[in-house]
Symmetry: D3
């Protein structure tokens, strides 16, 4: 190419110069802990005691306490309530849907949760990249196949796919739970997209071999 085509940039220079990690949990701002209602602050402090930091999703929703409460109540019912799905299976659904929706916050935060609860960081990473090529048991493959279908626009369940889930050992309530977790996180992914929610940097290493958790 012409001399104008030469580039002074040395080939081994560091990349992404001048870019800083964008640290604000939400584009709408977050309240200080002492500005939060007591119940909201209590949830945040409990989480900090357990993880060592407050996940940004708590801070972002704390901006509107009524929304914080409604979201967390539904979230906890789906993710921690009684179900034939293990907690790790539910996190696998969340990571599957969030990866398909390319949701940075949810893939990062729930990817960490899946590494911890599932005790298999390799499979957790695989699901975060492409659940279809992950090393899955037939039961987990059936679950994630359905979760991915739920995540599509215009989803309606066929009798055939419900029968396949039943054949994989899921009860009717379990089928409901797969769909509810998948669909709720499609909602949550979009709220993260609204707020430009940023994952806490600690999530990147949680649950990895070199990590204390």
């Amino acid at each position: 190419m012409s001399p104008a085509g030469t580039s002074p940039k040395p080939s081994n220079a560091p990349f992404n110069e001048g870019a800083a990690h964008h640290a604000a949990p939400s584009r709408f701002g977050v309240p200080a802990l002492d500005e939060m209602p007591d119940d909201v602050r209590a949830v945040c402090e409990e989480s900090r005691a357990k993880l060592g930091f407050i996940p940004n999703v708590f801070l972002a929703y704390a901006r509107r306490p009524e929304h914080f409460r409604a979201f967390m109540q539904y979230h906890d019912l789906l993710m921690k309530g009684p179900s034939g799905l293990s907690r790790a299976e539910r996190e696998a659904i969340v990571v599957t849907v969030s990866a398909e929706n390319t949701c940075l916050y949810c893939v990062t935060a729930h990817g960490a949760a899946l590494r911890i609860l599932g005790k298999d960081a390799v499979v957790a990473d695989q699901i975060a990249t492409n659940w279809r090529t992950a090393d899955l048991s037939p039961r987990l493959r059936a679950i994630l196949t359905f979760a991915s279908h739920v995540n599509e626009p215009g989803f309606t369940a066929s009798e055939e796919e419900i029968a396949k889930l039943r054949a994989a050992g899921l009860s009717e309530q379990d089928v409901w739970d797969v769909a509810a977790v998948a669909a709720f996180f499609g909602f949550s992914n979009r709220m993260a997209g609204l707020m430009d929610m940023r994952p806490n940097p600690q999530f990147h290493e949680l649950g990895r071999p070199g990590s204390s958790r």
Copy 2:
């Protein structure tokens, strides 16, 4: 065509012979009123008193009371709670998203709500078919444009589109509310698709000129 091509079916015969309206509110079955917990039954009965029938979404969720409560609490916060968006505007968001997701239950039930609250059955029908070609004010067009974007997989909000909403008179909380209503109903649409939720036939005529409501 050959004589084999002739068809004995008279050209003016009724269509869809032998098909019955599928009346079950949910493929998973619904409890009788007297099997419901008191608080759930109270919601159902209140609704019947007001509308003359119990919307099938109540019956379908009553199958699992904890899910009923979490869903209705979040729903009511979003659809009836304080907001700079009028209730009719919120219903217009629901109909827009539900039409894009081709959700039979939600388009039918919330189409009726929009006809009643918006007091314009023509525009309500237009939004149920194609919000883009509906007769919208600039404010409502801005709202539905954003709601439709939220509904896309992989949604993230740009600064530009938020600025457009602010320029149309929406507060930051209003922007949040547009996204929350749109995303929550993406979730709800998928739950209706899971359950094969059927709209009560009464919804088809509610809010029309010839209707008493």
Copy 3:
């Protein structure tokens, strides 16, 4: 949010303030009745005598009489000519395709025709929202499944799908007619999109229980 975030709009305000129904049948304008050639005006007046108003599609095409004639002749052959498909079945094809193409004029006008000819306003509304979840007989489901396929870009018919239609009782001519109606209205939908064709408001209520027709 900050005080700037508060919104003075009362939550129950009417919605869509300032928007008027856009009444022009076509963006290209329409001729007065006395400017039309005799044969074109006769069609318009016959329609007004029958329905009480002139459907805007007639006025829009009357702008160019040669196009009016070619369109109406083909339309009438497909929709009213001899066929093994009932007229209601043909309207169901039109509504299916028009809903997939989100054509406001055609969904509204032919939705009304389907309610009248099919004598089942509930199923007509279902098809206008999502034919897949409508209460369809096996024959009508086979017809609309094929019509929807025809509507896709790059359509080619497989032997398998033609065999399914034959098994559902359709003759070869009927198969042709399903495809011809579906494809012709894909054409018609795009002409409506060109002209920004607006449905007459009367179509919204025709064929409903409270209507005289």
Copy 4:
């Protein structure tokens, strides 16, 4: 790879062994000339006199004379009637739309027409492959950009794109004609897909430098 991986097929063998050119004009069969109504046969014979062969689209539609007549009348109005678009421009629209719909019959037959009428076999071939990278004048680029938009499902025209066409020298009738030709051939492409219509082999060479036409 294992010995089983070796293949006896010599690298320079002819390809596609055993495949014959599929010669039936339509999967539904075609009538003999002397079975056709006089007016239909006259069109076929006129075409044979002019081209040396009868295009298969005539034979395929002759199966149903009423459809033949309605199709040909509309076709001739659009493709040969008075318009501000030259006949070559109209063929360029047909090839553009047919290529996007990957319609074998229409790309081949109208590709030949475009080579003949446009007197530029290179540009005709370019449009058949990708109109976007073809060597187009600003006027023809504006026309084909709009035609391609018309061809999309859910098309509605914006004021902005109509203004661009007007700025490129098109009248309102010309805009209508671009859309009508594009949309009519979307219909025609689907009819060819229904019938598995096969192009006459002669079309491949018509209008090429080595051809007498």
Copy 5:
């Protein structure tokens, strides 16, 4: 339409007035033969001796000799190296993928190669328009079905589709070769799109009945 709608353009005017064939092989420019390294120039001259002209892809890549060498070495291995696929079959894969990617250079240049090597200009043209409706042997249909799948974003091969290829007579190496040719030309198509690579006009007629080659 109004008098403003009349257009002075005569209906039979030539089309595409003022557009010239865009002759530059690449938007980045090309070196003169005597500026090329000896090995690169030798390839160009050999090609000119054989075809009568230098394909523009050689000139375009000659801009960067190291890229020229890496590209041509890989290309020749895939297209001319030992394989259970005939050279014509490999060209059919290239044309299939290039047509799906609407790559003007590759469809035109490799369409010519396929006409020459396959000795069937009709089928070559069919594949350039739509391989699905081309007159293919079962073996070639199996090959092109797989090639088209490889070309999709996110491709992963299933055991089932590999088994189908094996059943059609392909060895494991042949399966690899189908995928490698298809995927390499997805790469090549994008490089042509980068450079705005223009096909030499001679390619349009090579291998046609009226051509000396």
Copy 6:
């Protein structure tokens, strides 16, 4: 739900029971080191000396030495040859494209390379999930925006997007390099999808804070 709906699976059970990590580098098998030609084995051993293991891509391609050589030569030219793009920038392109193509092998292996070369594990993970929401400098955002466009089917570069890259400081050769790296890895992603290539487990932790590399 009915008692049949109860599930005996305890909610905290481990997930994915019975699934093993699928360890074969390629579905087509790989040669032992002593079965490889000397030059191929030397590459493998050099890589093991440097990384502590042989990346599975080397073993998979070693199945066919000629392909190994052509692939590695082109790969090394693009990824290690002289360029105005730093090596980390090139890896960022690879991760961007591979994530869009959901290629498990390439996201995992090149994600590790990007963590090491870019010295920012957080941004590397962000790019692996969604480059659009990653913390990027304007230069890197311009590069990845173009790389993502190259990766789309039917890509052609516009003058406008090339001008944007030039404005971000890239030379013409750099623009070429962005496209070449992006398109070459679209090819490579598909080869990994062909072979069901599995990432070595070590890649998951390389370049992380707790890792020695």
